[in-house]
Subunit: 256 residues, 4 copies
């Protein structure tokens, strides 16, 4: 059984800020957002977690291994260095989608994302250290088969992007509604998926679905671990096996 700790990271009242007193330069907003994301990714990542940029104003992180003090420190540190502040909602569970729904609900109860009086909320609970297990997290790392040869070196850069984006859009919906999983595009032709307790057959089904729906061929490595990094690292190694052996689904964990 997985036990995923999910943190919703929301920039407080961000939309209004971007146009107050008048619209801010887009390049500055892009720079600020992506550096803020990079900092959070680094903070969470060097404690074993993963952060996904998602919509940038709402980021989603897998934070097993981070306690409430860590979350509070992240808020404080961002508040000291950026012109915006963060609210954080945390929840845990065997089903990542449900955990995220709970984390979201906690922030929604605290106030609207555009409520200017809701600032630096920290809501929810973490998995206490004694309750953490070696297989709390399951991560699947998908990529597009021979994306460089089939797309990047052949199509124009936008059409390649459309192909990959289409594969991602289909995969994200399917994994969410059929498999209670959270899928995130992470650059290139890579999608990282935070999963509950899925099996090889589930991934085979998902690959077949995407191929049929949008004609994009993908492969996937899957890993388990105590943290997102551990699970994700095993998934990367499994994906290397796909690439080397031409297989479509590889799972890398000690069998139960």
């Amino acid at each position: 059984m997985t036990n995923t700790q999910v943190t919703l990271v929301q920039i407080d009242n961000y939309g209004p800020w971007t146009v107050t007193p008048e619209p801010r330069r887009e390049a500055d907003l892009q720079t600020m957002q992506s550096r803020l994301y990079a900092d959070i990714s680094q903070f969470v990542g060097n404690r074993g977690g993963y952060t996904f940029f998602t919509r940038f104003d709402n980021m989603i992180a897998v934070t097993n291994g981070l306690d409430r003090e860590d979350h509070a420190l992240l808020q404080e540190s961002v508040g000291n260095r950026y012109p915006v502040t963060l609210s954080l909602g945390i929840a845990t569970g065997t089903n990542p989608v449900q955990a995220l729904a709970d984390a979201t609900a906690r922030l929604q109860e605290a106030g609207s994302a555009q409520d200017k009086h809701r600032r630096e909320c920290l809501e929810g609970r973490v998995i206490d250290e004694p309750y953490r297990a070696d297989d709390d997290i399951q991560i699947a790392h998908f990529d597009v088969i021979n994306a460089t040869g089939n797309y990047t070196d052949e199509l124009n850069a936008f059409d390649t992007f459309i192909e990959i984006e289409q594969g991602y859009a289909e995969l994200m919906r399917h994994m969410r509604y059929a498999h209670d999983s959270l899928s995130f595009f992470v650059g290139g032709d890579n999608v990282i998926v935070v999963c509950p307790d899925l099996e090889a057959a589930d991934y085979e089904e998902a690959l077949a679905h995407v191929e049929e729906a949008v004609d994009v061929e993908m492969q996937v490595g899957v890993g388990r671990g105590k943290s997102a990094h551990e699970a994700g690292f095993a998934a990367k190694h499994a994906l290397e096996t796909c690439r080397a052996d031409g297989t479509r689904v590889e799972l890398e964990w000690k069998t139960a």
Copy 2:
């Protein structure tokens, strides 16, 4: 008539680098990619251009106002500060998709994105200063109507993301194939579109198409200018008018 200068920014041999000698920590890759993007956005942006993160290993920029020396300086500066290098393809034209296709072709002719001997290529031509015009660029800035009230404060964060992502995926395909435009998600519920010479009716058609196809209601502000910043800034102001007046399409430029 628009005359868009497009630059394709490609990290050299990036895929192989991310797994050599073995897979690198995902959080570090995410941090490095997004900071690299932020730096390019800043460099291009403070010369009046726009950069879109796209796939991160392939970024697309609108670079009217930057000459070849500027591009070369960007390459040199990134090469001095990052563990990776950039190749750049530049092209111009009335049709942004065609311009990007040309820019892509120039890099593809120079070598594969995963050719380790293709490093720091700089290919293509810019619009010389005397040939630049005040209406070279047309930018449309879309957002989702009442995204915070309808989605962010109501659905869980991932389902909100799916809705926005779906609207984006449909819009990007439609604008590319029906209107020769390049659409980029820029965070929150915002999509920036680099367009040829489109009219209000074209945007109305696109909004109707997206609403019918995926049931996402959007609005759009459109601007023209000599640079991406000028056009995009006018588009932002036009979008503020939509928000204030409840209109769906606003164009902000002096009519010809």
Copy 3:
């Protein structure tokens, strides 16, 4: 008794890299150095430590609370994101100067700072968690009395800088040779000093010495703690007391 854990952070073979194959743009070197420092400051700082930029190619950190795995992770993360790599020497002791000397010796034994075969060394030992104590670190935070009124708003910016620099140079030498302490300029008119077990009289002596030698009047807040952050935070509060009450030396810790 203090027990300071000191880490010497050395960029591997940096001097030669800056001029290979020919001198690199100074602005890029400055950007890269200061961002690398910022990242290390953030990594160490959000684990309770302090990092000082010192010479940039050689940085000095107080790392109580960071174990060898943390140090290794810092090396790995920097190696994944920068064009340069780090070697780290760690040592501990009641005398910060001696600890730094030991940390330095470990790196020197591993090879020259300009030996291109010495890369990513990690040498030395940390204080194991059970041996850490609440008063392991003593930090003194000095500033110049009314620097803004006496200097910044009166002299030209360089002459102000000379005054502050002179105060710092005298303080750093005196604290090192008379009090076995490591002093670091941290911006503005602030100097942070990592001390052994000093008393109020020692600080009074130091202030008097600096005033006599170079005619710069300073004040100092001193704190103790389990980590650099705890001690430094107490020192900052003590310095606020100096500012409020017009005193010259304030110590903030529970007396033994």
Copy 4:
């Protein structure tokens, strides 16, 4: 004749901000300051200028080639991305110390560095493009002879730092009072000096003075150019000649 354009960059009301409502974490301040410096260095640097971190809350830049719009854009961009704002004073002249004094005076007249109502001032004038000349800037790049062999690989890291710091402190004072020059430590064992129209004999005198006063042996490469980058790049090449040939002073410019 040189004609140096100097910009004083001052963070508005920074001291009070760092302790409001209570002292902020030192590691965050260090991170924020050094990244802000890095961004300014990059902005100014990719327009041919040099920025020196100096005291971090007051930075000094050589900005030949940047006009008032560039300065205003820097202010706007920083204001959009940081929790602090910048005021800028600009002045020009044949004597860099006098230019800096004028730039400082303009900001001082606008208000105190700790006046909370003085925000984002932009004062002073630049050299208009037609008046710029190929030899407007003279830069000298000093380093310590065999610093790695004599110090870094021999002494502990702090004693090495004291030696280099002492050399710098002596050089900065001497160059300022004897030669109207602004000297900045830029990391490692390097000092960059912004000079008026000095000759080889002046540098020989300065080297002799430093050696006699504090027993630190330095060498220096000197360059001229239209911008800080051009002059500094020539200086770096000249310094490479010193290193290769064992000479102490090298000037690299086309003789008048």
